[in-house]
Structures are given as C-alpha cells and as structure tokens.
Amino acid sequence: MAADTARGARKAGRYALLIALAVVVLFPIYAVVLQALKTGPDSLDHPRSLLPVDLTLSTIRAAWDQGDLGRLLLNSMFVSIVVTIGVVITSLLAAYAFAFLQFPFKGPLFVAFLATMLVPTEVTVVINERTADSLGWINSYQGLIVPSLASTFGVFLVRQVFLQLPGELREAAALDGVGHLRFLWEVAAPLSRPTLGALGLFTFLGTWNAYLWPSQVIRGDRAHETIQIGLERLKNSDISKINLVTGGLVVAALPIFIMLVLFQRQLVRGLTAGAVKG
C-alpha cells in the first residue's frame, strides 16, 4: 500500500511538472494569439487580456488590410509550392543518376556535391545578391525561387532510399525494356513516397520560413514580398498599431501549424533522417 501511494505521488508530481512546463512553452503563443483576438486598447489591460473573453477578429482583419497579407500569403504559397516541386524533381533526377547509372568519376563527384552542404546561405548571399541583381531578379519571383531549386540534402536523402530498393527491380525493368525516366516515374519514385513526402514537407517549411535571402532579394516590393518579410513592415509601423503585428503573426504561422498537425509523422521522419545524415 505504501509503495502504491508513493508511486501515485510520483506520478502526480510528474504530471504537475509536465503541466507547468507545457504552460511555460505554450505561454508565448497563447499570449500573442489572444492579443491578436482582442481589440487594440483592451490588449493593454492586463491581466484581463490573458483571459479568453471579449474576442474579436478585428485586429486580424486590420492587420490583413494594412499589411496586404492576402497578397503576401499568396506569394509565400506560390514560391513555396514551386520550390518544393522543383526540389523534389531535381533531387529525384540527380539521386537516380547517383544510384542507378554508371559513369566515370561518380564517387568523387558525389562527394564534391555533398561537400557543398557545408556552405551556409549566410556565406553565399553576399555574391548571390549581385548575381540576382545582374540578372534583373531583384524584386521578382525568379529571384526568390531559382536559387533554391536544388537541394544537396534532398539528393542525398533520395539516393539513400534508391540504394535500398532491390537491385533486381531495376534489372527486371531493364529486361522488359523500361527506360530510365519510366522506371524513375513508375517504380522508383512511387516506392520512395514516404521519403519524398518528408523532403517535400521540409522544403516547403524551409521556403515558407526563409528570412535572410528573401529579405535581401525583395526590397520593398509588395507584389513579390513573402509573408515573413511583410511581418517586418507591420512591426515598423506606428507604435499605436503595434498590436497589428500579433494579427500578422497569426496569419503567417497558422498555415504552418495546420500543415504540421496534418503531417506530423513525415516531419519526424525527415528530422530523424537529418539526424542520421551526420
């Protein structure tokens, strides 16, 4: 009996600790979302502002109009979708070559290709900005999209999966006269769907959330601005309208939260694949 009580107390203690930590982790999101759901003056009235009462969509609506968020959401959506599709295609093609084709210097080429994973965006933006400038790609979708269309990590990830497919599948296909593109499209890609899903999800998130490169290649052109960059303008507006930032945050983060809830498993798979890559 005593042991049972002790175990029960330990369990209760653990729950208390879990709840306390959950509150701490969630609090910033909770506070900001709540603030976004209140009118301006009311949000200054603590602690009443921390209770879910007097809710309204007016702040979000105001942020939407003021920040032209509909347009920015569409921009982000368009850029992220195109980059995601592009990365999946370029990764599939290059991974296929590295996994199934015979050609000279395959090994060294692959190693050199992988090595470029070590070069962070923070290093290349200096020059890429000038390249984009000379191509006339400042303030354009091309500028946002094209530099991100290839992913070394994607090639690596997909090649790993291709190498795990039974070699006899490719041989059986070769005997049946199946060409490379058809094998890639009808056999290799469908059999790699979970990995492609994880790669797609990651690419989408990465593109949606990107900050440095969009902030350099888009210079105040709302027609092409992504939502992440647009948030900054809301922040820099009048201090009396600072509340609008919270509305913008909700609009910018909501699509990603929904996606992650829907694709939690792919996310974990992608992250752990990343952890294994070292």
Binding site: L169, A172, D176
Partner: protein, 339 residues
C-alpha cells in the same frame, strides 16, 4: 523452325574486379542450347551459374567470349532487344502495382494498347491460375502466388528464351514439388527455350531436358539428367549429383590401383567376405530404406539398404561388394573420368 542453337555461348569468361582482387567467376565456358530445350545450369553457390545466366540476359558483360541468341551475336545488344524474359529469385515484382498491372507492365512499355494489354495479361494469368488475384498487390499474395505472377509477367511477353534464376528457392518444400511439375508442363505448352539456374539437383533431375554442371566457373559436364547421373564426367559431378552422394574411395580400395573409384550407395551390397571391409558407425532408418554409414580404413562409406535385409548394428564389422560395372573411375590428379 530450323534447328540452329537457340542460345550459344562461345568461350565465355567473366572476371570481377581487377588486379590482385580479380575473381574469375566464369572460366571459358562453351555451351549450345537448342530450341525448346529446358537447360539446367547446376552447381553449388558461387560456381558462376547465375553470372552465366545474367550474361545471356545482358545484365553482365562477358570479359571474353561471345553470346549468340538465334545466331545473332548479342554482346553489344541491350537486354530489352535480346528477346529474353527473366524470372528472378526474389521475383522482382513491383510492390506498388496490382498483379494485373505487374503482368501488363512489359506490354505497356512496348506501347501495346490498353485493351489488348488487358486481354493478354488475363490470358497469361489464366495459364498460371491467377485469375482471382489480378486486383491484389504482391504484398497480399503467398510466396507461391508471387512466383506465378513473376512467371506470368515473363510469359506475357512471349519471349524466345526464358531465363530463371533459382525461382523456387523461396518456396517451401511441398510447394516446390508442385511447382516443378507445373514448370515442366508450362515448358511443354510454350514454344520457348528455358534456361534455369539452380543448386538443387532434384530440380535439375526432374525438370531439365539437359543439365550443365558447373564448378568454380568451369563447365564440368553437359548431358541429359540420366546421362549425368549414370556417367559423371568428373569426380565433382559424381559427388554433386545423387543423395546421398556417391562414395569416392582412394586408390587401392575395391581392387583399383592408381585411380579413385566411385560407387553409389545403392550399388554397394553387404556380402560376407566382400572385398571392402569396414566398421559400422551409424545406422539411419528412413522408413523406405536404411542408410548405413561405415568407416573403411579412414574412408567414409555410405550404403543404401532395403529394410527387409539384415541390418548390422553400430560397431559391427561388415564387408561390401560391388558389381564391377557399377564402378566409376576418376583420375586422382584431374578428377576426370577414366575410360
């Protein structure tokens, strides 16, 4: 159909790797396979039989020698243009496609129309009794059914040559027996040449019109199953074919002088005063027969006895005799048959 060899291998060699690591997998093999033969490539694992088959398919390039299919040299011809179909040990079915789609796929690649594809796939499925499985995926099938799908996928192409790489090795013993009979039946119904790789001598004996025995990349003997059993060309063939294997006695026993002598267990008779003296080490009762394992001066001797005969016990001294006509003589140096 003229009677040219359907598949001809001329002085084929295959080396894997290079330099000091080079391995000679196939060593100067020459073999003619006639139209509508059921040729078995038989040998222990690593003997080069699968490599030989893959060179016929075009999945490996020979290091030396020529491959001919229907009198056409195919060394530089792509696999798909060789008019061959292959059934793999793992079956190599596309896991995400239905059985019907798997069978149709080779036709689809060749640009056959949808309706015709479906008809031909259905016909192939009927040959193998797969009509009920057409809508399923390979993962939902038993091993035997998967094996039939792989066969159907090969049949649907109507190739001149069927290549099979140990297609039964993933089946359980009972299913293997049934499938052997079906393959023989299939071969009879189709106007195609079969080349079949196996390490299982029972498959070789029961299905093949001829058997080519390989060891260490070298062709040991080619002949009908009975031929290979009755007159093994080398000591290796003698011991590889037959269960339990042929007894191989060192020179000096059973009245021989300078050659090894082989005698099958069923040809040894227990005769008081026989010339081969031995001590019984083990008696195995198998029901329909009894295997007597004995030691003759350090040489292991196995004899097959009828259960109705007198059976000695472990430790008993025994003497065997054999009909001289049943003896096989092999050179002690080359292992080749003498006379």
């Amino acid at each position: 159909m003229d009677c040219v060899a359907q598949v001809r291998l001329e002085h084929i060699s295959k080396t894997f790797g290079d330099g000091a690591d080079a391995v000679l997998a196939v060593d100067d093999v020459t073999l003619d396979i006639e139209h509508h033969e059921f040729m078995i490539l038989l040998g222990p694992s690593g003997c080069g039989k699968s490599t030989l088959l893959r060179m016929v398919a075009g999945l490996e390039d020979p290091s030396a020698g020529d491959v001919f299919i229907a009198d056409r040299r195919v060394n530089d011809i792509e696999p798909k243009q060789r008019d061959v179909a292959m059934v793999f040990q793992s079956y190599a079915l596309y896991p995400h496609k239905t059985v019907a789609a798997n069978i149709e796929f080779p036709l689809k690649v060749r640009g056959v129309g949808k309706a015709q594809r479906a008809t031909e796939a259905r016909a192939a499925a009927e040959v193998l009794g797969l009509e009920q499985q057409l809508k399923r995926k390979p993962g939902q099938l038993s091993g035997g059914q998967r094996q039939r799908v792989a066969l159907a996928r090969a049949i649907v192409r109507n190739p001149a040559v069927f290549l099979m790489d140990e297609p039964l090795s993933n089946l359980d013993a009972k299913l293997r027996g049934d499938t052997r009979a079906e393959l023989v039946d299939l071969h009879r119904r189709l106007d195609s040449t079969f080349i079949y790789v196996t390490h299982d001598q029972i498959e070789a004996m029961t299905m093949g019109t001829r058997v080519a025995v390989l060891n260490n990349g070298r062709l040991q003997q080619v002949g009908t199953p009975q031929d290979v059993y009755d007159r093994p060309a080398t000591a290796f063939v003698a011991q590889f074919i037959g269960t339990p294997p042929m007894n191989l006695l060192p020179p000096g026993m059973l009245g021989t002088d300078d050659v090894q002598v082989g005698i099958r267990p069923e040809h040894l008779r227990l005769v008081p005063g026989g010339q081969l003296h031995a001590t019984v080490k083990q008696v195995e009762h198998l029901g329909h027969e009894i295997l007597l394992v004995a030691d003759a001066n350090g040489a292991k001797v196995v004899a097959r006895l009828d259960p109705s005969e007198f059976v000695p016990e472990v430790g008993d001294p025994v003497a065997f005799d054999a009909d001289p006509g049943r003896l096989h003589r092999f050179s002690t140096t080359t292992g080749e048959r003498v006379s």
